[in-house]
């Protein structure tokens, strides 16, 4: 496997140095691995901190900036960050209005953010937490660690970020984050396995003629494996899996997300099929976002996230955002 890297050990630090050079509007602490918006702490504003393993770019560092996250903590590749990073981030963005931790439901992320919340509170920072668990491919939570947090993380960070930017207090920002998570569902599909820099070979074996349905964002295998399907068939399967669980009663936001190695040509083509299924199921799409947003290194494949919105959530979605990975309205 050929990769554009020096050595696996410095992949994350190298990326952060490059990100700092490309985005002078961000404060990037390479040594301690914290990305903070340059004007933090913003007086009176609730801070939003998220983080997780590296390898999901632009999530989360690419979503730091006005209208979205205040700070992000990137861990090692596919490994959650440590509590020290989160406490440092919280301290950097807290203006006294408190900090919301946005946590994807993966065991490592949950445990480290829990510890960080305790430590930050000991330092006098008010902390609220929201858990993102939107992945419908994981059904039986008695026998698993619960639904994984995947594509909906983008909607939670965007909408709660917009509310915080407008000056909403901590409990309100937290409530919006929770509402967005509860209104969102995701289903992911892998066409190829992922190769991490440390391992250098694919983490699971997915033959050419097959695809994996119901994957998470670390190349962890999913619900079932089938013979390769067409874009049309995948859209039918993925959208129906989401709708079966979400059963939206109003318009939705649609995210057609690439997993890292699928070109936009394919993603737009797939989006056409997604829109067709949604129209056939009488679901109104208020806004659509197509691109690589919540990725899994070099995995080929995609995920579909739907988020049911009311007028207020739609307004927060449309609010200006200015980050490396998402930008509009300013």
């Amino acid at each position: 496997m050929k990769m554009l890297i020096n050595v696996p050990e410095t992949v994350v630090a190298d990326a952060l140095r490059g990100m700092a050079a490309a985005h002078p509007e961000l404060t990037v602490d390479v040594e301690n691995r914290v990305i903070v918006r340059g004007d933090a702490p913003v007086a009176g504003k609730v801070g939003l901190v998220s983080g997780g393993g590296s390898g999901h770019e632009p999530l989360h560092g690419g979503f730091v900036g006005p209208g979205m996250l205040s700070a992000a903590c990137p861990g090692e590749v596919f490994t959650s960050p440590v509590p020290d990073q989160m406490v440092r981030a919280a301290a950097a963005v807290d203006s006294g209005a408190g900090v919301l931790f946005i946590v994807k439901n993966y065991t490592g992320d949950v445990l480290n953010f829990d510890m960080a919340a305790e430590l930050a509170e000991e330092e006098g920072i008010r902390i609220a937490k929201v858990l993102v668990n939107d992945d419908v491919a994981v059904t039986d939570s008695l026998f698993t660690a619960g639904r994984r947090g995947t594509g909906a993380t983008l909607f939670v960070e965007k909408l709660a970020g917009a509310a915080a930017e407008e000056g909403a207090p901590l409990d309100q920002v937290e409530a919006i984050a929770r509402q967005v998570n509860e209104s969102s569902r995701t289903f992911g599909v892998a066409l190829s396995a992922v190769t991490t820099p440390a391992k250098g070979t694919p983490t699971f074996d997915l033959p050419d003629g097959e695809l994996e349905l119901g994957i998470g964002i670390h190349g962890e295998p999913g619900r079932e494996r089938r013979a390769m399907m067409t874009s049309r068939e995948i859209a039918d399967f993925a959208v129906d899996a989401v709708l079966e669980d979400l059963r939206p009663k109003g318009p939705v936001l649609a995210l057609v997300n690439g997993m890292g190695a699928t070109p936009l040509l394919e993603l737009y083509g797939f989006n056409a099929e997604v829109q067709r299924v949604l129209a056939e199921r009488n679901v109104t799409v208020a806004r659509t976002l197509v691109g690589n947003y919540v990725t899994s290194l070099d995995m080929a494949g995609c995920s579909v996230t739907l988020c049911q919105v009311d007028g207020e959530l739609l307004r927060l979605y449309d609010a200006p955002v200015e980050t490396a990975g998402l930008r509009w309205g300013r």
């Binding site: 393993g53 993966y106 698993t144 991490t196 190349g219």
Partner: protein, 209 residues
């Protein structure tokens, strides 16, 4: 005569040597741990623990003499700060809580240590919301703490047997749980690294005999 009845006590230096020996075992077995994790997790258990134990060893080298409890709490804090993932908080909590249970005594008996380790294991179970049979590190740690009542060697053997016994289990916690039935047939990486820690403990005990 059991280890408990031997009359020997353990000082801070013993625990320092235990963690150094454990660190060496992690270095040696990192590839195997990562390989096991690649089958049912995300292929980083070995690398993550390696990073953590290197930090533990470096920190302990810088510190002067410490009581047993302080050695363990300091090491636990280092693991939490450097490992990440689920292993950082879980192993960090194991050592921190065991250390706290030992208090600030300058020397402890094997029985006192076994009791403290049981408290550490209970804290891990509570943090992870897991129990024996879920295919986690607890499958090695729980039988090991019971067997420690007899001897350090018995503790190590019980941990190793517990790790091997995870092979036919279906994972219910952590990332392996998403595999469902496909997690069956693979040894749990966390139980395996826990068995390494217990083996290092027995080795340290033997070496100081």
């Amino acid at each position: 005569m059991s280890d408990q009845e031997s009359g020997r006590t353990l000082d801070g230096d013993f625990f320092r040597r235990w963690l150094t020996t454990a660190g060496a075992a992690v270095e040696r077995e990192a590839g195997r741990l990562t390989e096991l994790d690649s089958a049912i997790g995300d292929a980083d258990h070995g690398t993550n623990l390696q990073r953590g134990f290197r930090a533990v060893t470096a920190t302990l080298e810088k510190e002067g003499p410490l009581a047993p409890g302080a050695v363990l709490t300091l090491a636990g804090r280092q693991l939490i700060s450097t490992v990440g993932g689920a292993s950082g908080p879980l192993y960090g909590t194991l050592l921190r809580r065991t250390g706290k249970a030992l208090g600030d005594a300058a020397e402890v008996t094997p029985a006192q240590f076994a009791e403290a380790l049981a408290a550490g294991v209970a804290a891990v179970a509570q943090l992870g919301g897991a129990k024996a049979g879920d295919k986690t590190m607890l499958d090695a740690l729980e039988p090991a703490t019971e067997a420690l009542g007899t001897s350090f060697a018995a503790g190590a053997e019980a941990a190793e047997a517990g790790a091997l016994a995870t092979v036919p289990l279906q994972a219910r916690k952590g990332r392996a749980s998403y595999l469902g039935e496909r997690s069956v047939g693979h040894q749990d990486p966390g139980a395996t690294s826990s068995a390494l820690l217990l083996a290092a403990l027995a080795e340290t005990w033997e070496a100081t005999a």
